[in-house]
């Protein structure tokens, strides 16, 4: 059971979350809980076709419906130069379709009415005539010369969005040619969706008299959204107030700007009334930003001793109709170049081709620091295949190839400088917890009886905390983050950050960081995020960047406060600045331990009794530009049993040992691990968004896009090693995404391990029972 929030020296302790006081009472204030006077509701008309020319739109029936105030089409928006909007990936996306639609469920018109039900009624009455066109569903076909070019707005007559490559292509080829063993595999990571339980939405409230827009929005990055909005809508940025209220989960879904947002803003500006748009679950799953959809090919070389010598990866990335990924500008394939993982590859090369298809736009970083999940899945699956080929235990293969602790900071062949890690120790801890040798013995016994039991490993390295200004920006804005701290006269603190939590516990964990630095309790520190009028500019919460960035900013801002406080303390203690020491809770006169003042007394003095000439007040702001990214890592072990009659897989055990550096709150860290493992489990076993040959989405709601319940979800066992980041102000690395990044490969490797005696090296996820059964049947081992 967790500790109270009044605990002294809170850093590293399992303290109860402050935000839960409202959440357990149902007093959270989520977007749809906000009701403004005279508010109207917006509903979108969506395309039934994946690819079609719009020949006519008749809005007259909708406009005639009592209670309908406005109907918007792409033509209307074109007159305001708003038919298209920029994406965070530097592409552009239609707000409301003009000319043609490019994916099923694309936004075609917007209807604003007195109630949500009436808006939906109105949307049903908008008559759109379509002329269907052949849909491009297969990204490989999209790249062929015969495929129709989907994007008529672009100069390039091609469906290729980008070609990106990194590493030494020739050197990698040479090393592969020289390798004694080369394994190849096609690894598919299907299209999935972050699907937070609260869908996306906004309320646009434009005040014409003040020329001012208040925009309530489910935003993981409220400042970035304000800037984008200023650029798109031409509103002056100081007259846009973005408020991101409590968020019911984000997982990357709430980073981009969506057409519904722009439509609501235009409607509010047109009608001078607040306009709310909340997407239905179907709209969420079909239009607002999928993730993954990577088709990867890998060649991995090794020498006779099982030491890896080269890695070559080529990938086709299906981005859908618009490249609406939210990657940093210089990284169209995100941080996919972490693909060499935890292993010491002398040489490597990776290439990614981004492709347009007639599917929903996106490529968001779903609980992932931009394509790191894809990279991690690829290398961890490939290492499994190599172990099978070499007939070597996968744990032994990994131990043989880990980057050793003494090589940190480690320069990876694809350009990253890993900060720290002790991969062998982390893996060993996981193996000890599961008693790996005993499991292998049990497996041998079961195999002898014809039973299918598998043990899967994943020893991943992540890259998070984007990022240093030398390399990282989104739309030109450097990816720093920020914290402003104000200490009030009574020693209580308000701290505001540029991030926006969605369940991660910032109101507690950042309070712990600041309280630790200032000798207070978490109870003394109020954390506020998500209001652009009050918080300092920051890039937001995604890509596990909050602790690496804003956490660093919080510690450093607190140290700035402490620096000033020390001078005030010296004044109170009547000694020189240099003769004051900080003991973690008090300022103490050197050599006179009985003479000390706590932070609260100093805070009061900052407003009442200052040294001569000192500026009053006790505040500090820090914009933290990190020197490097951080590299959390972990070792996961999955143990599965396969039902030979149905192909169903049961996860019997799952042990996750994570190393995220310094731990701020172990309870919160474990919670993040549990949640991310559950998402990884879903991705491995049941989640995908497939399309038929006409581009119809086949998983448009929770009946077909499967979210695991408590029954399917395994019991998680967690462990930890702590290798602090040497460059982070408190040594923390970020953890929210590790389990989602690392676990899918562990599950898949376990299933493959169970089937490996049959010669199976790969089955594409999700591992539905039927897929496993087909393999069993082919090999004549089905019940």
């Amino acid at each position: 059971m967790a500790l109270e929030i009044t605990e002294a020296h809170p850093l590293g302790k399992a303290i109860k979350r402050k935000e839960d006081a409202r959440f357990v009472r149902g007093q959270g204030r989520y977007l749809d809980d906000i009701k403004l006077p005279d508010m109207l509701y917006l509903a979108l008309v969506r395309s039934p076709y994946a690819h079609a020319r719009i020949t006519h739109i008749d809005t007259s029936r909708a406009q005639a419906l009592p209670g309908v105030h406005l109907v918007l089409t792409g033509e209307d928006l074109a007159k305001m130069n708003l038919a298209w909007m920029p994406t965070l990936a530097g592409d552009q996306q239609m707000v409301l379709a003009t000319g043609k639609v490019l994916f099923q469920y694309q936004e075609v018109a917007a209807v604003v009415a007195d109630s949500r039900a009436l808006a939906e009624d109105g949307a049903q009455l908008v008559d759109v005539a379509y002329e269907p066109l052949p849909a491009v569903v297969d990204p490989f076909w999209a790249l062929s010369p015969e495929a129709p070019v989907l994007r008529e707005d672009r100069e390039e007559a091609s469906n290729r969005i980008f070609h990106w490559e990194v590493g030494d292509s020739r050197g990698t080829d040479r090393a592969l040619a020289d390798a004694s063993t080369v394994v190849t595999e096609r690894i598919r990571m299907p299209r999935v969706h972050p699907a937070p339980l609260e869908p996306c939405g906004c309320i646009a409230d434009y005040n014409a008299a003040r020329g001012h827009l208040t925009w309530y929005v489910t935003s993981q990055a409220p400042h970035a959204h304000r800037t984008v909005l200023a650029m798109v809508a031409g509103l002056p940025e100081h007259k846009i107030h973005v408020i991101s209220p409590d968020i019911g989960g984000g997982f990357g879904n709430k980073v981009p700007v969506f057409p519904g947002y722009v439509a609501a803003i235009v409607a509010s500006i047109s009608l001078h009334r607040p306009v709310k748009w909340i997407e239905a679950r179907t709209e969420n799953l079909t239009s607002t930003n999928f993730a993954r959809d990577y088709h990867m090919e890998v060649a991995l070389g090794a020498d006779r001793d099982g030491r890896v010598t080269a890695l070559r990866v080529s990938t086709v990335a299906d981005h859908g109709a618009f490249d609406a990924a939210a990657d940093p500008t210089k990284f169209p394939a995100g941080l996919f170049s972490i693909v060499t993982g935890s292993y010491d590859f002398p040489v490597a090369y990776a290439a990614v081709d981004g492709v347009y298809t007639n599917k929903a736009p996106g490529g968001v970083a779903y609980r992932c620091s931009f394509r790191v999940t894809e990279a991690s899945f690829l290398i961890e699956r490939a290492m499994n295949t190599l172990a099978l080929r070499l007939n070597m235990d996968p744990a032994e293969l990994r131990q043989r190839n880990f980057i050793p602790p003494e090589r940190f900071p480690y320069q990876s062949p694809l350009g990253w400088t890993y900060d720290s890690g002790d991969y062998a120790a982390t893996l060993q801890k996981a193996l000890d917890i599961v008693d790996y040798p005993a499991l292998r013995r049990e497996q041998a016994e079961r195999r002898a009886r014809g039973e299918l039991m598998g043990i899967g490993l994943s020893t991943f390295t992540e890259i998070v905390g984007a990022g240093p200004s030398s390399t990282f920006d989104i739309l030109g804005i450097k990816m720093f983050d920020s914290c402003e701290i104000r200490v009030h006269p009574t020693g209580k603190v308000i701290a505001r950050l540029g991030t926006r939590h969605q369940g991660q516990g910032h109101e507690t964990t950042f309070a712990q960081v600041i309280a630790e630095e200032l000798g207070l309790t978490a109870d003394d520190v109020l954390i506020e995020e998500g209001d652009t009028d009050t918080a300092p500019y920051g890039l937001g919460t995604y890509a596990s960047r909050s602790t690496p960035l804003a956490g660093g900013a919080a510690a450093l801002a607190a140290r700035r406060v402490r620096d000033k406080a020390k001078k005030i303390a010296a004044h109170l203690l009547e000694v020189d600045d240099a003769e004051v020491e900080w003991d973690g809770q008090h300022f103490v006169a050197m050599g006179a331990p009985d003479r000390s003042v706590p932070m609260a007394a100093v805070a009061l003095a900052a407003y009442t009794n200052l040294p001569h000439g000192m500026e009053p007040g006790l505040e500090a702001t820090y914009y933290y530009d990190p020197p490097n990214l951080t590299f959390p890592n972990g070792a996961y072990v999955a143990v599965v049993d396969i039902d030979k009659g149905t192909g169903a897989v049961t996860v019997r055990r799952f042990v996750a040992v994570d190393d995220c550096g310094t731990v701020i709150n172990p309870m919160v860290v474990d919670g993040q691990i549990h949640g991310g493992l559950t998402e990884g489990f879903a991705i491995a076993f049941m989640q995908e968004i497939p399309f038929d040959e006409d581009g119809n989405c086949l998983a448009p709601n929770f009946m077909d896009y499967l979210v695991p319940t408590a029954v399917e979800t395994p019991h998680w066992e967690t462990g930890r090693t702590v290798t602090p980041s040497p460059h982070h102000p408190i040594g923390a690395k970020g953890v929210g995404e590790s389990p989602n990044v690392g676990s899918p490969a562990a599950f898949a490797n376990a299933v493959i391990d169970a089937l490996s005696p049959l010669g199976v090296t790969n089955i594409d996820i999700p591992l539905f029972p039927w897929k496993v059964w087909e393999v069993l049947r082919q090999h004549g081992v089905a019940e």
């Binding site: 009946m703 499967l706 319940t709 029954v711 399917e712 539905f768 039927w770 089905a782």
Partner: protein, 295 residues
């Protein structure tokens, strides 16, 4: 998402309900638990002008037992059966099946009769009640009529009920000998429709020979199916490894599944075989256990 506008009627007698259905015909939709209908209305896949809510009709509530049968009123919720241990002795398949339907919250509202009337081929009750040889009583303007579940189910989402008929309840015959049952459902997750469902119940005489058996299959045809040949091969015989295998193979050939995202037709057919085999094996064990306890 919100339903299209409709007019709402909550009759308080069966007569009134039948009358409303007669008056509004195709424009009206009957609602019992609403756990299938309301989601369809929210997605605007169904848009009745009139919604006739029968939850306030007292005649449709409750259940009665006679020497020969159990009568479940049309408003009997899945959960009412799931949690009723009194039914286990004579009607073990009912509780087995109820616990597998949808999820616990849906089970608090959804009704047995509503599920039958909706006639989803993947629904759990239809397969169960086919196996039990159950019938429904339908009340229309011309009075009551008894329809076997087998005759009720015509096609996917299609029954032989007239638009102005209401199912007032389900009659399940009481077993005469010792009985054991098993319901198996393969689903992708809780709350999913069955990939394949098998409901089976076996009665044996004093000598241990099978006197009566029902095997119902879900999600492997345009309606729930009854594996007649598999049942026949078991009658008059003892459950044993060979008879069970024989029956399982026959049940698989009775299945007529289609390939879809839940698996290929071949897969589903084979799951029927596996589940019938496992189900009958479990039943065999339960019967043996029951006998041991009895002795």
């Amino acid at each position: 998402m919100f339903p299209n506008a409709f007019d709402y009627a909550a009759p308080t007698s069966l007569e009134e309900a039948v009358d409303l259905l007669g008056r509004y015909g195709d424009e009206a939709k009957l609602m019992a638990g609403g756990q299938s209908l309301l989601p369809m209305m929210k997605l605007r896949l169904a848009a009745p002008a009139w919604l006739v809510d029968i939850n306030r009709v007292p005649e449709l509530a409750g259940r009665t037992e006679t020497d020969d049968a159990l009568f479940l009123g049309a408003l009997t919720r899945h959960a009412a059966i799931e949690w009723d241990r009194d039914l286990d002795a004579d009607y073990p398949l009912l509780g087995e099946t109820a616990a597998l339907i949808a999820d616990p919250l849906v089970r608090n509202r959804g009704t047995v009769a509503g599920s039958l009337a909706h006639a989803d081929p993947a629904a759990d009750w239809a397969a169960c009640l086919l196996a039990l040889g159950a019938s429904v009583t339908a009340r229309g303007p011309r009075g009551n009529r008894l329809i076997t579940v087998e005759d009720l189910l015509v096609d996917a989402l299609t029954t032989t009920l007239a638009p102005d008929e209401i199912i007032t309840g389900v009659t399940v015959p009481r077993p005469t000998g010792r009985v054991a049952a098993k319901s198996l459902k393969l689903e992708r997750k809780v709350g999913d429709f069955a990939i394949v469902g098998v409901s089976l119940q076996v009665e044996v005489g004093i000598d241990g020979d099978v006197t009566r058996v029902g095997i119902g299959l879900a999600a492997v045809g345009s309606t729930a199916l009854r594996a007649r040949e598999a049942e026949t091969v078991l009658l008059g015989r003892r459950l044993g490894r060979e008879t069970i295998r024989e029956a399982a193979a026959l049940a698989a050939s009775a299945a007529d599944p289609v390939s879809d995202r839940r698996g290929s037709a071949a897969y589903k057919r084979d799951i029927v075989r596996v589940f019938v085999e496992r189900g009958l094996t479990a039943v065999q064990a339960r019967l043996a256990e029951g006998q041991a306890l009895g002795a």
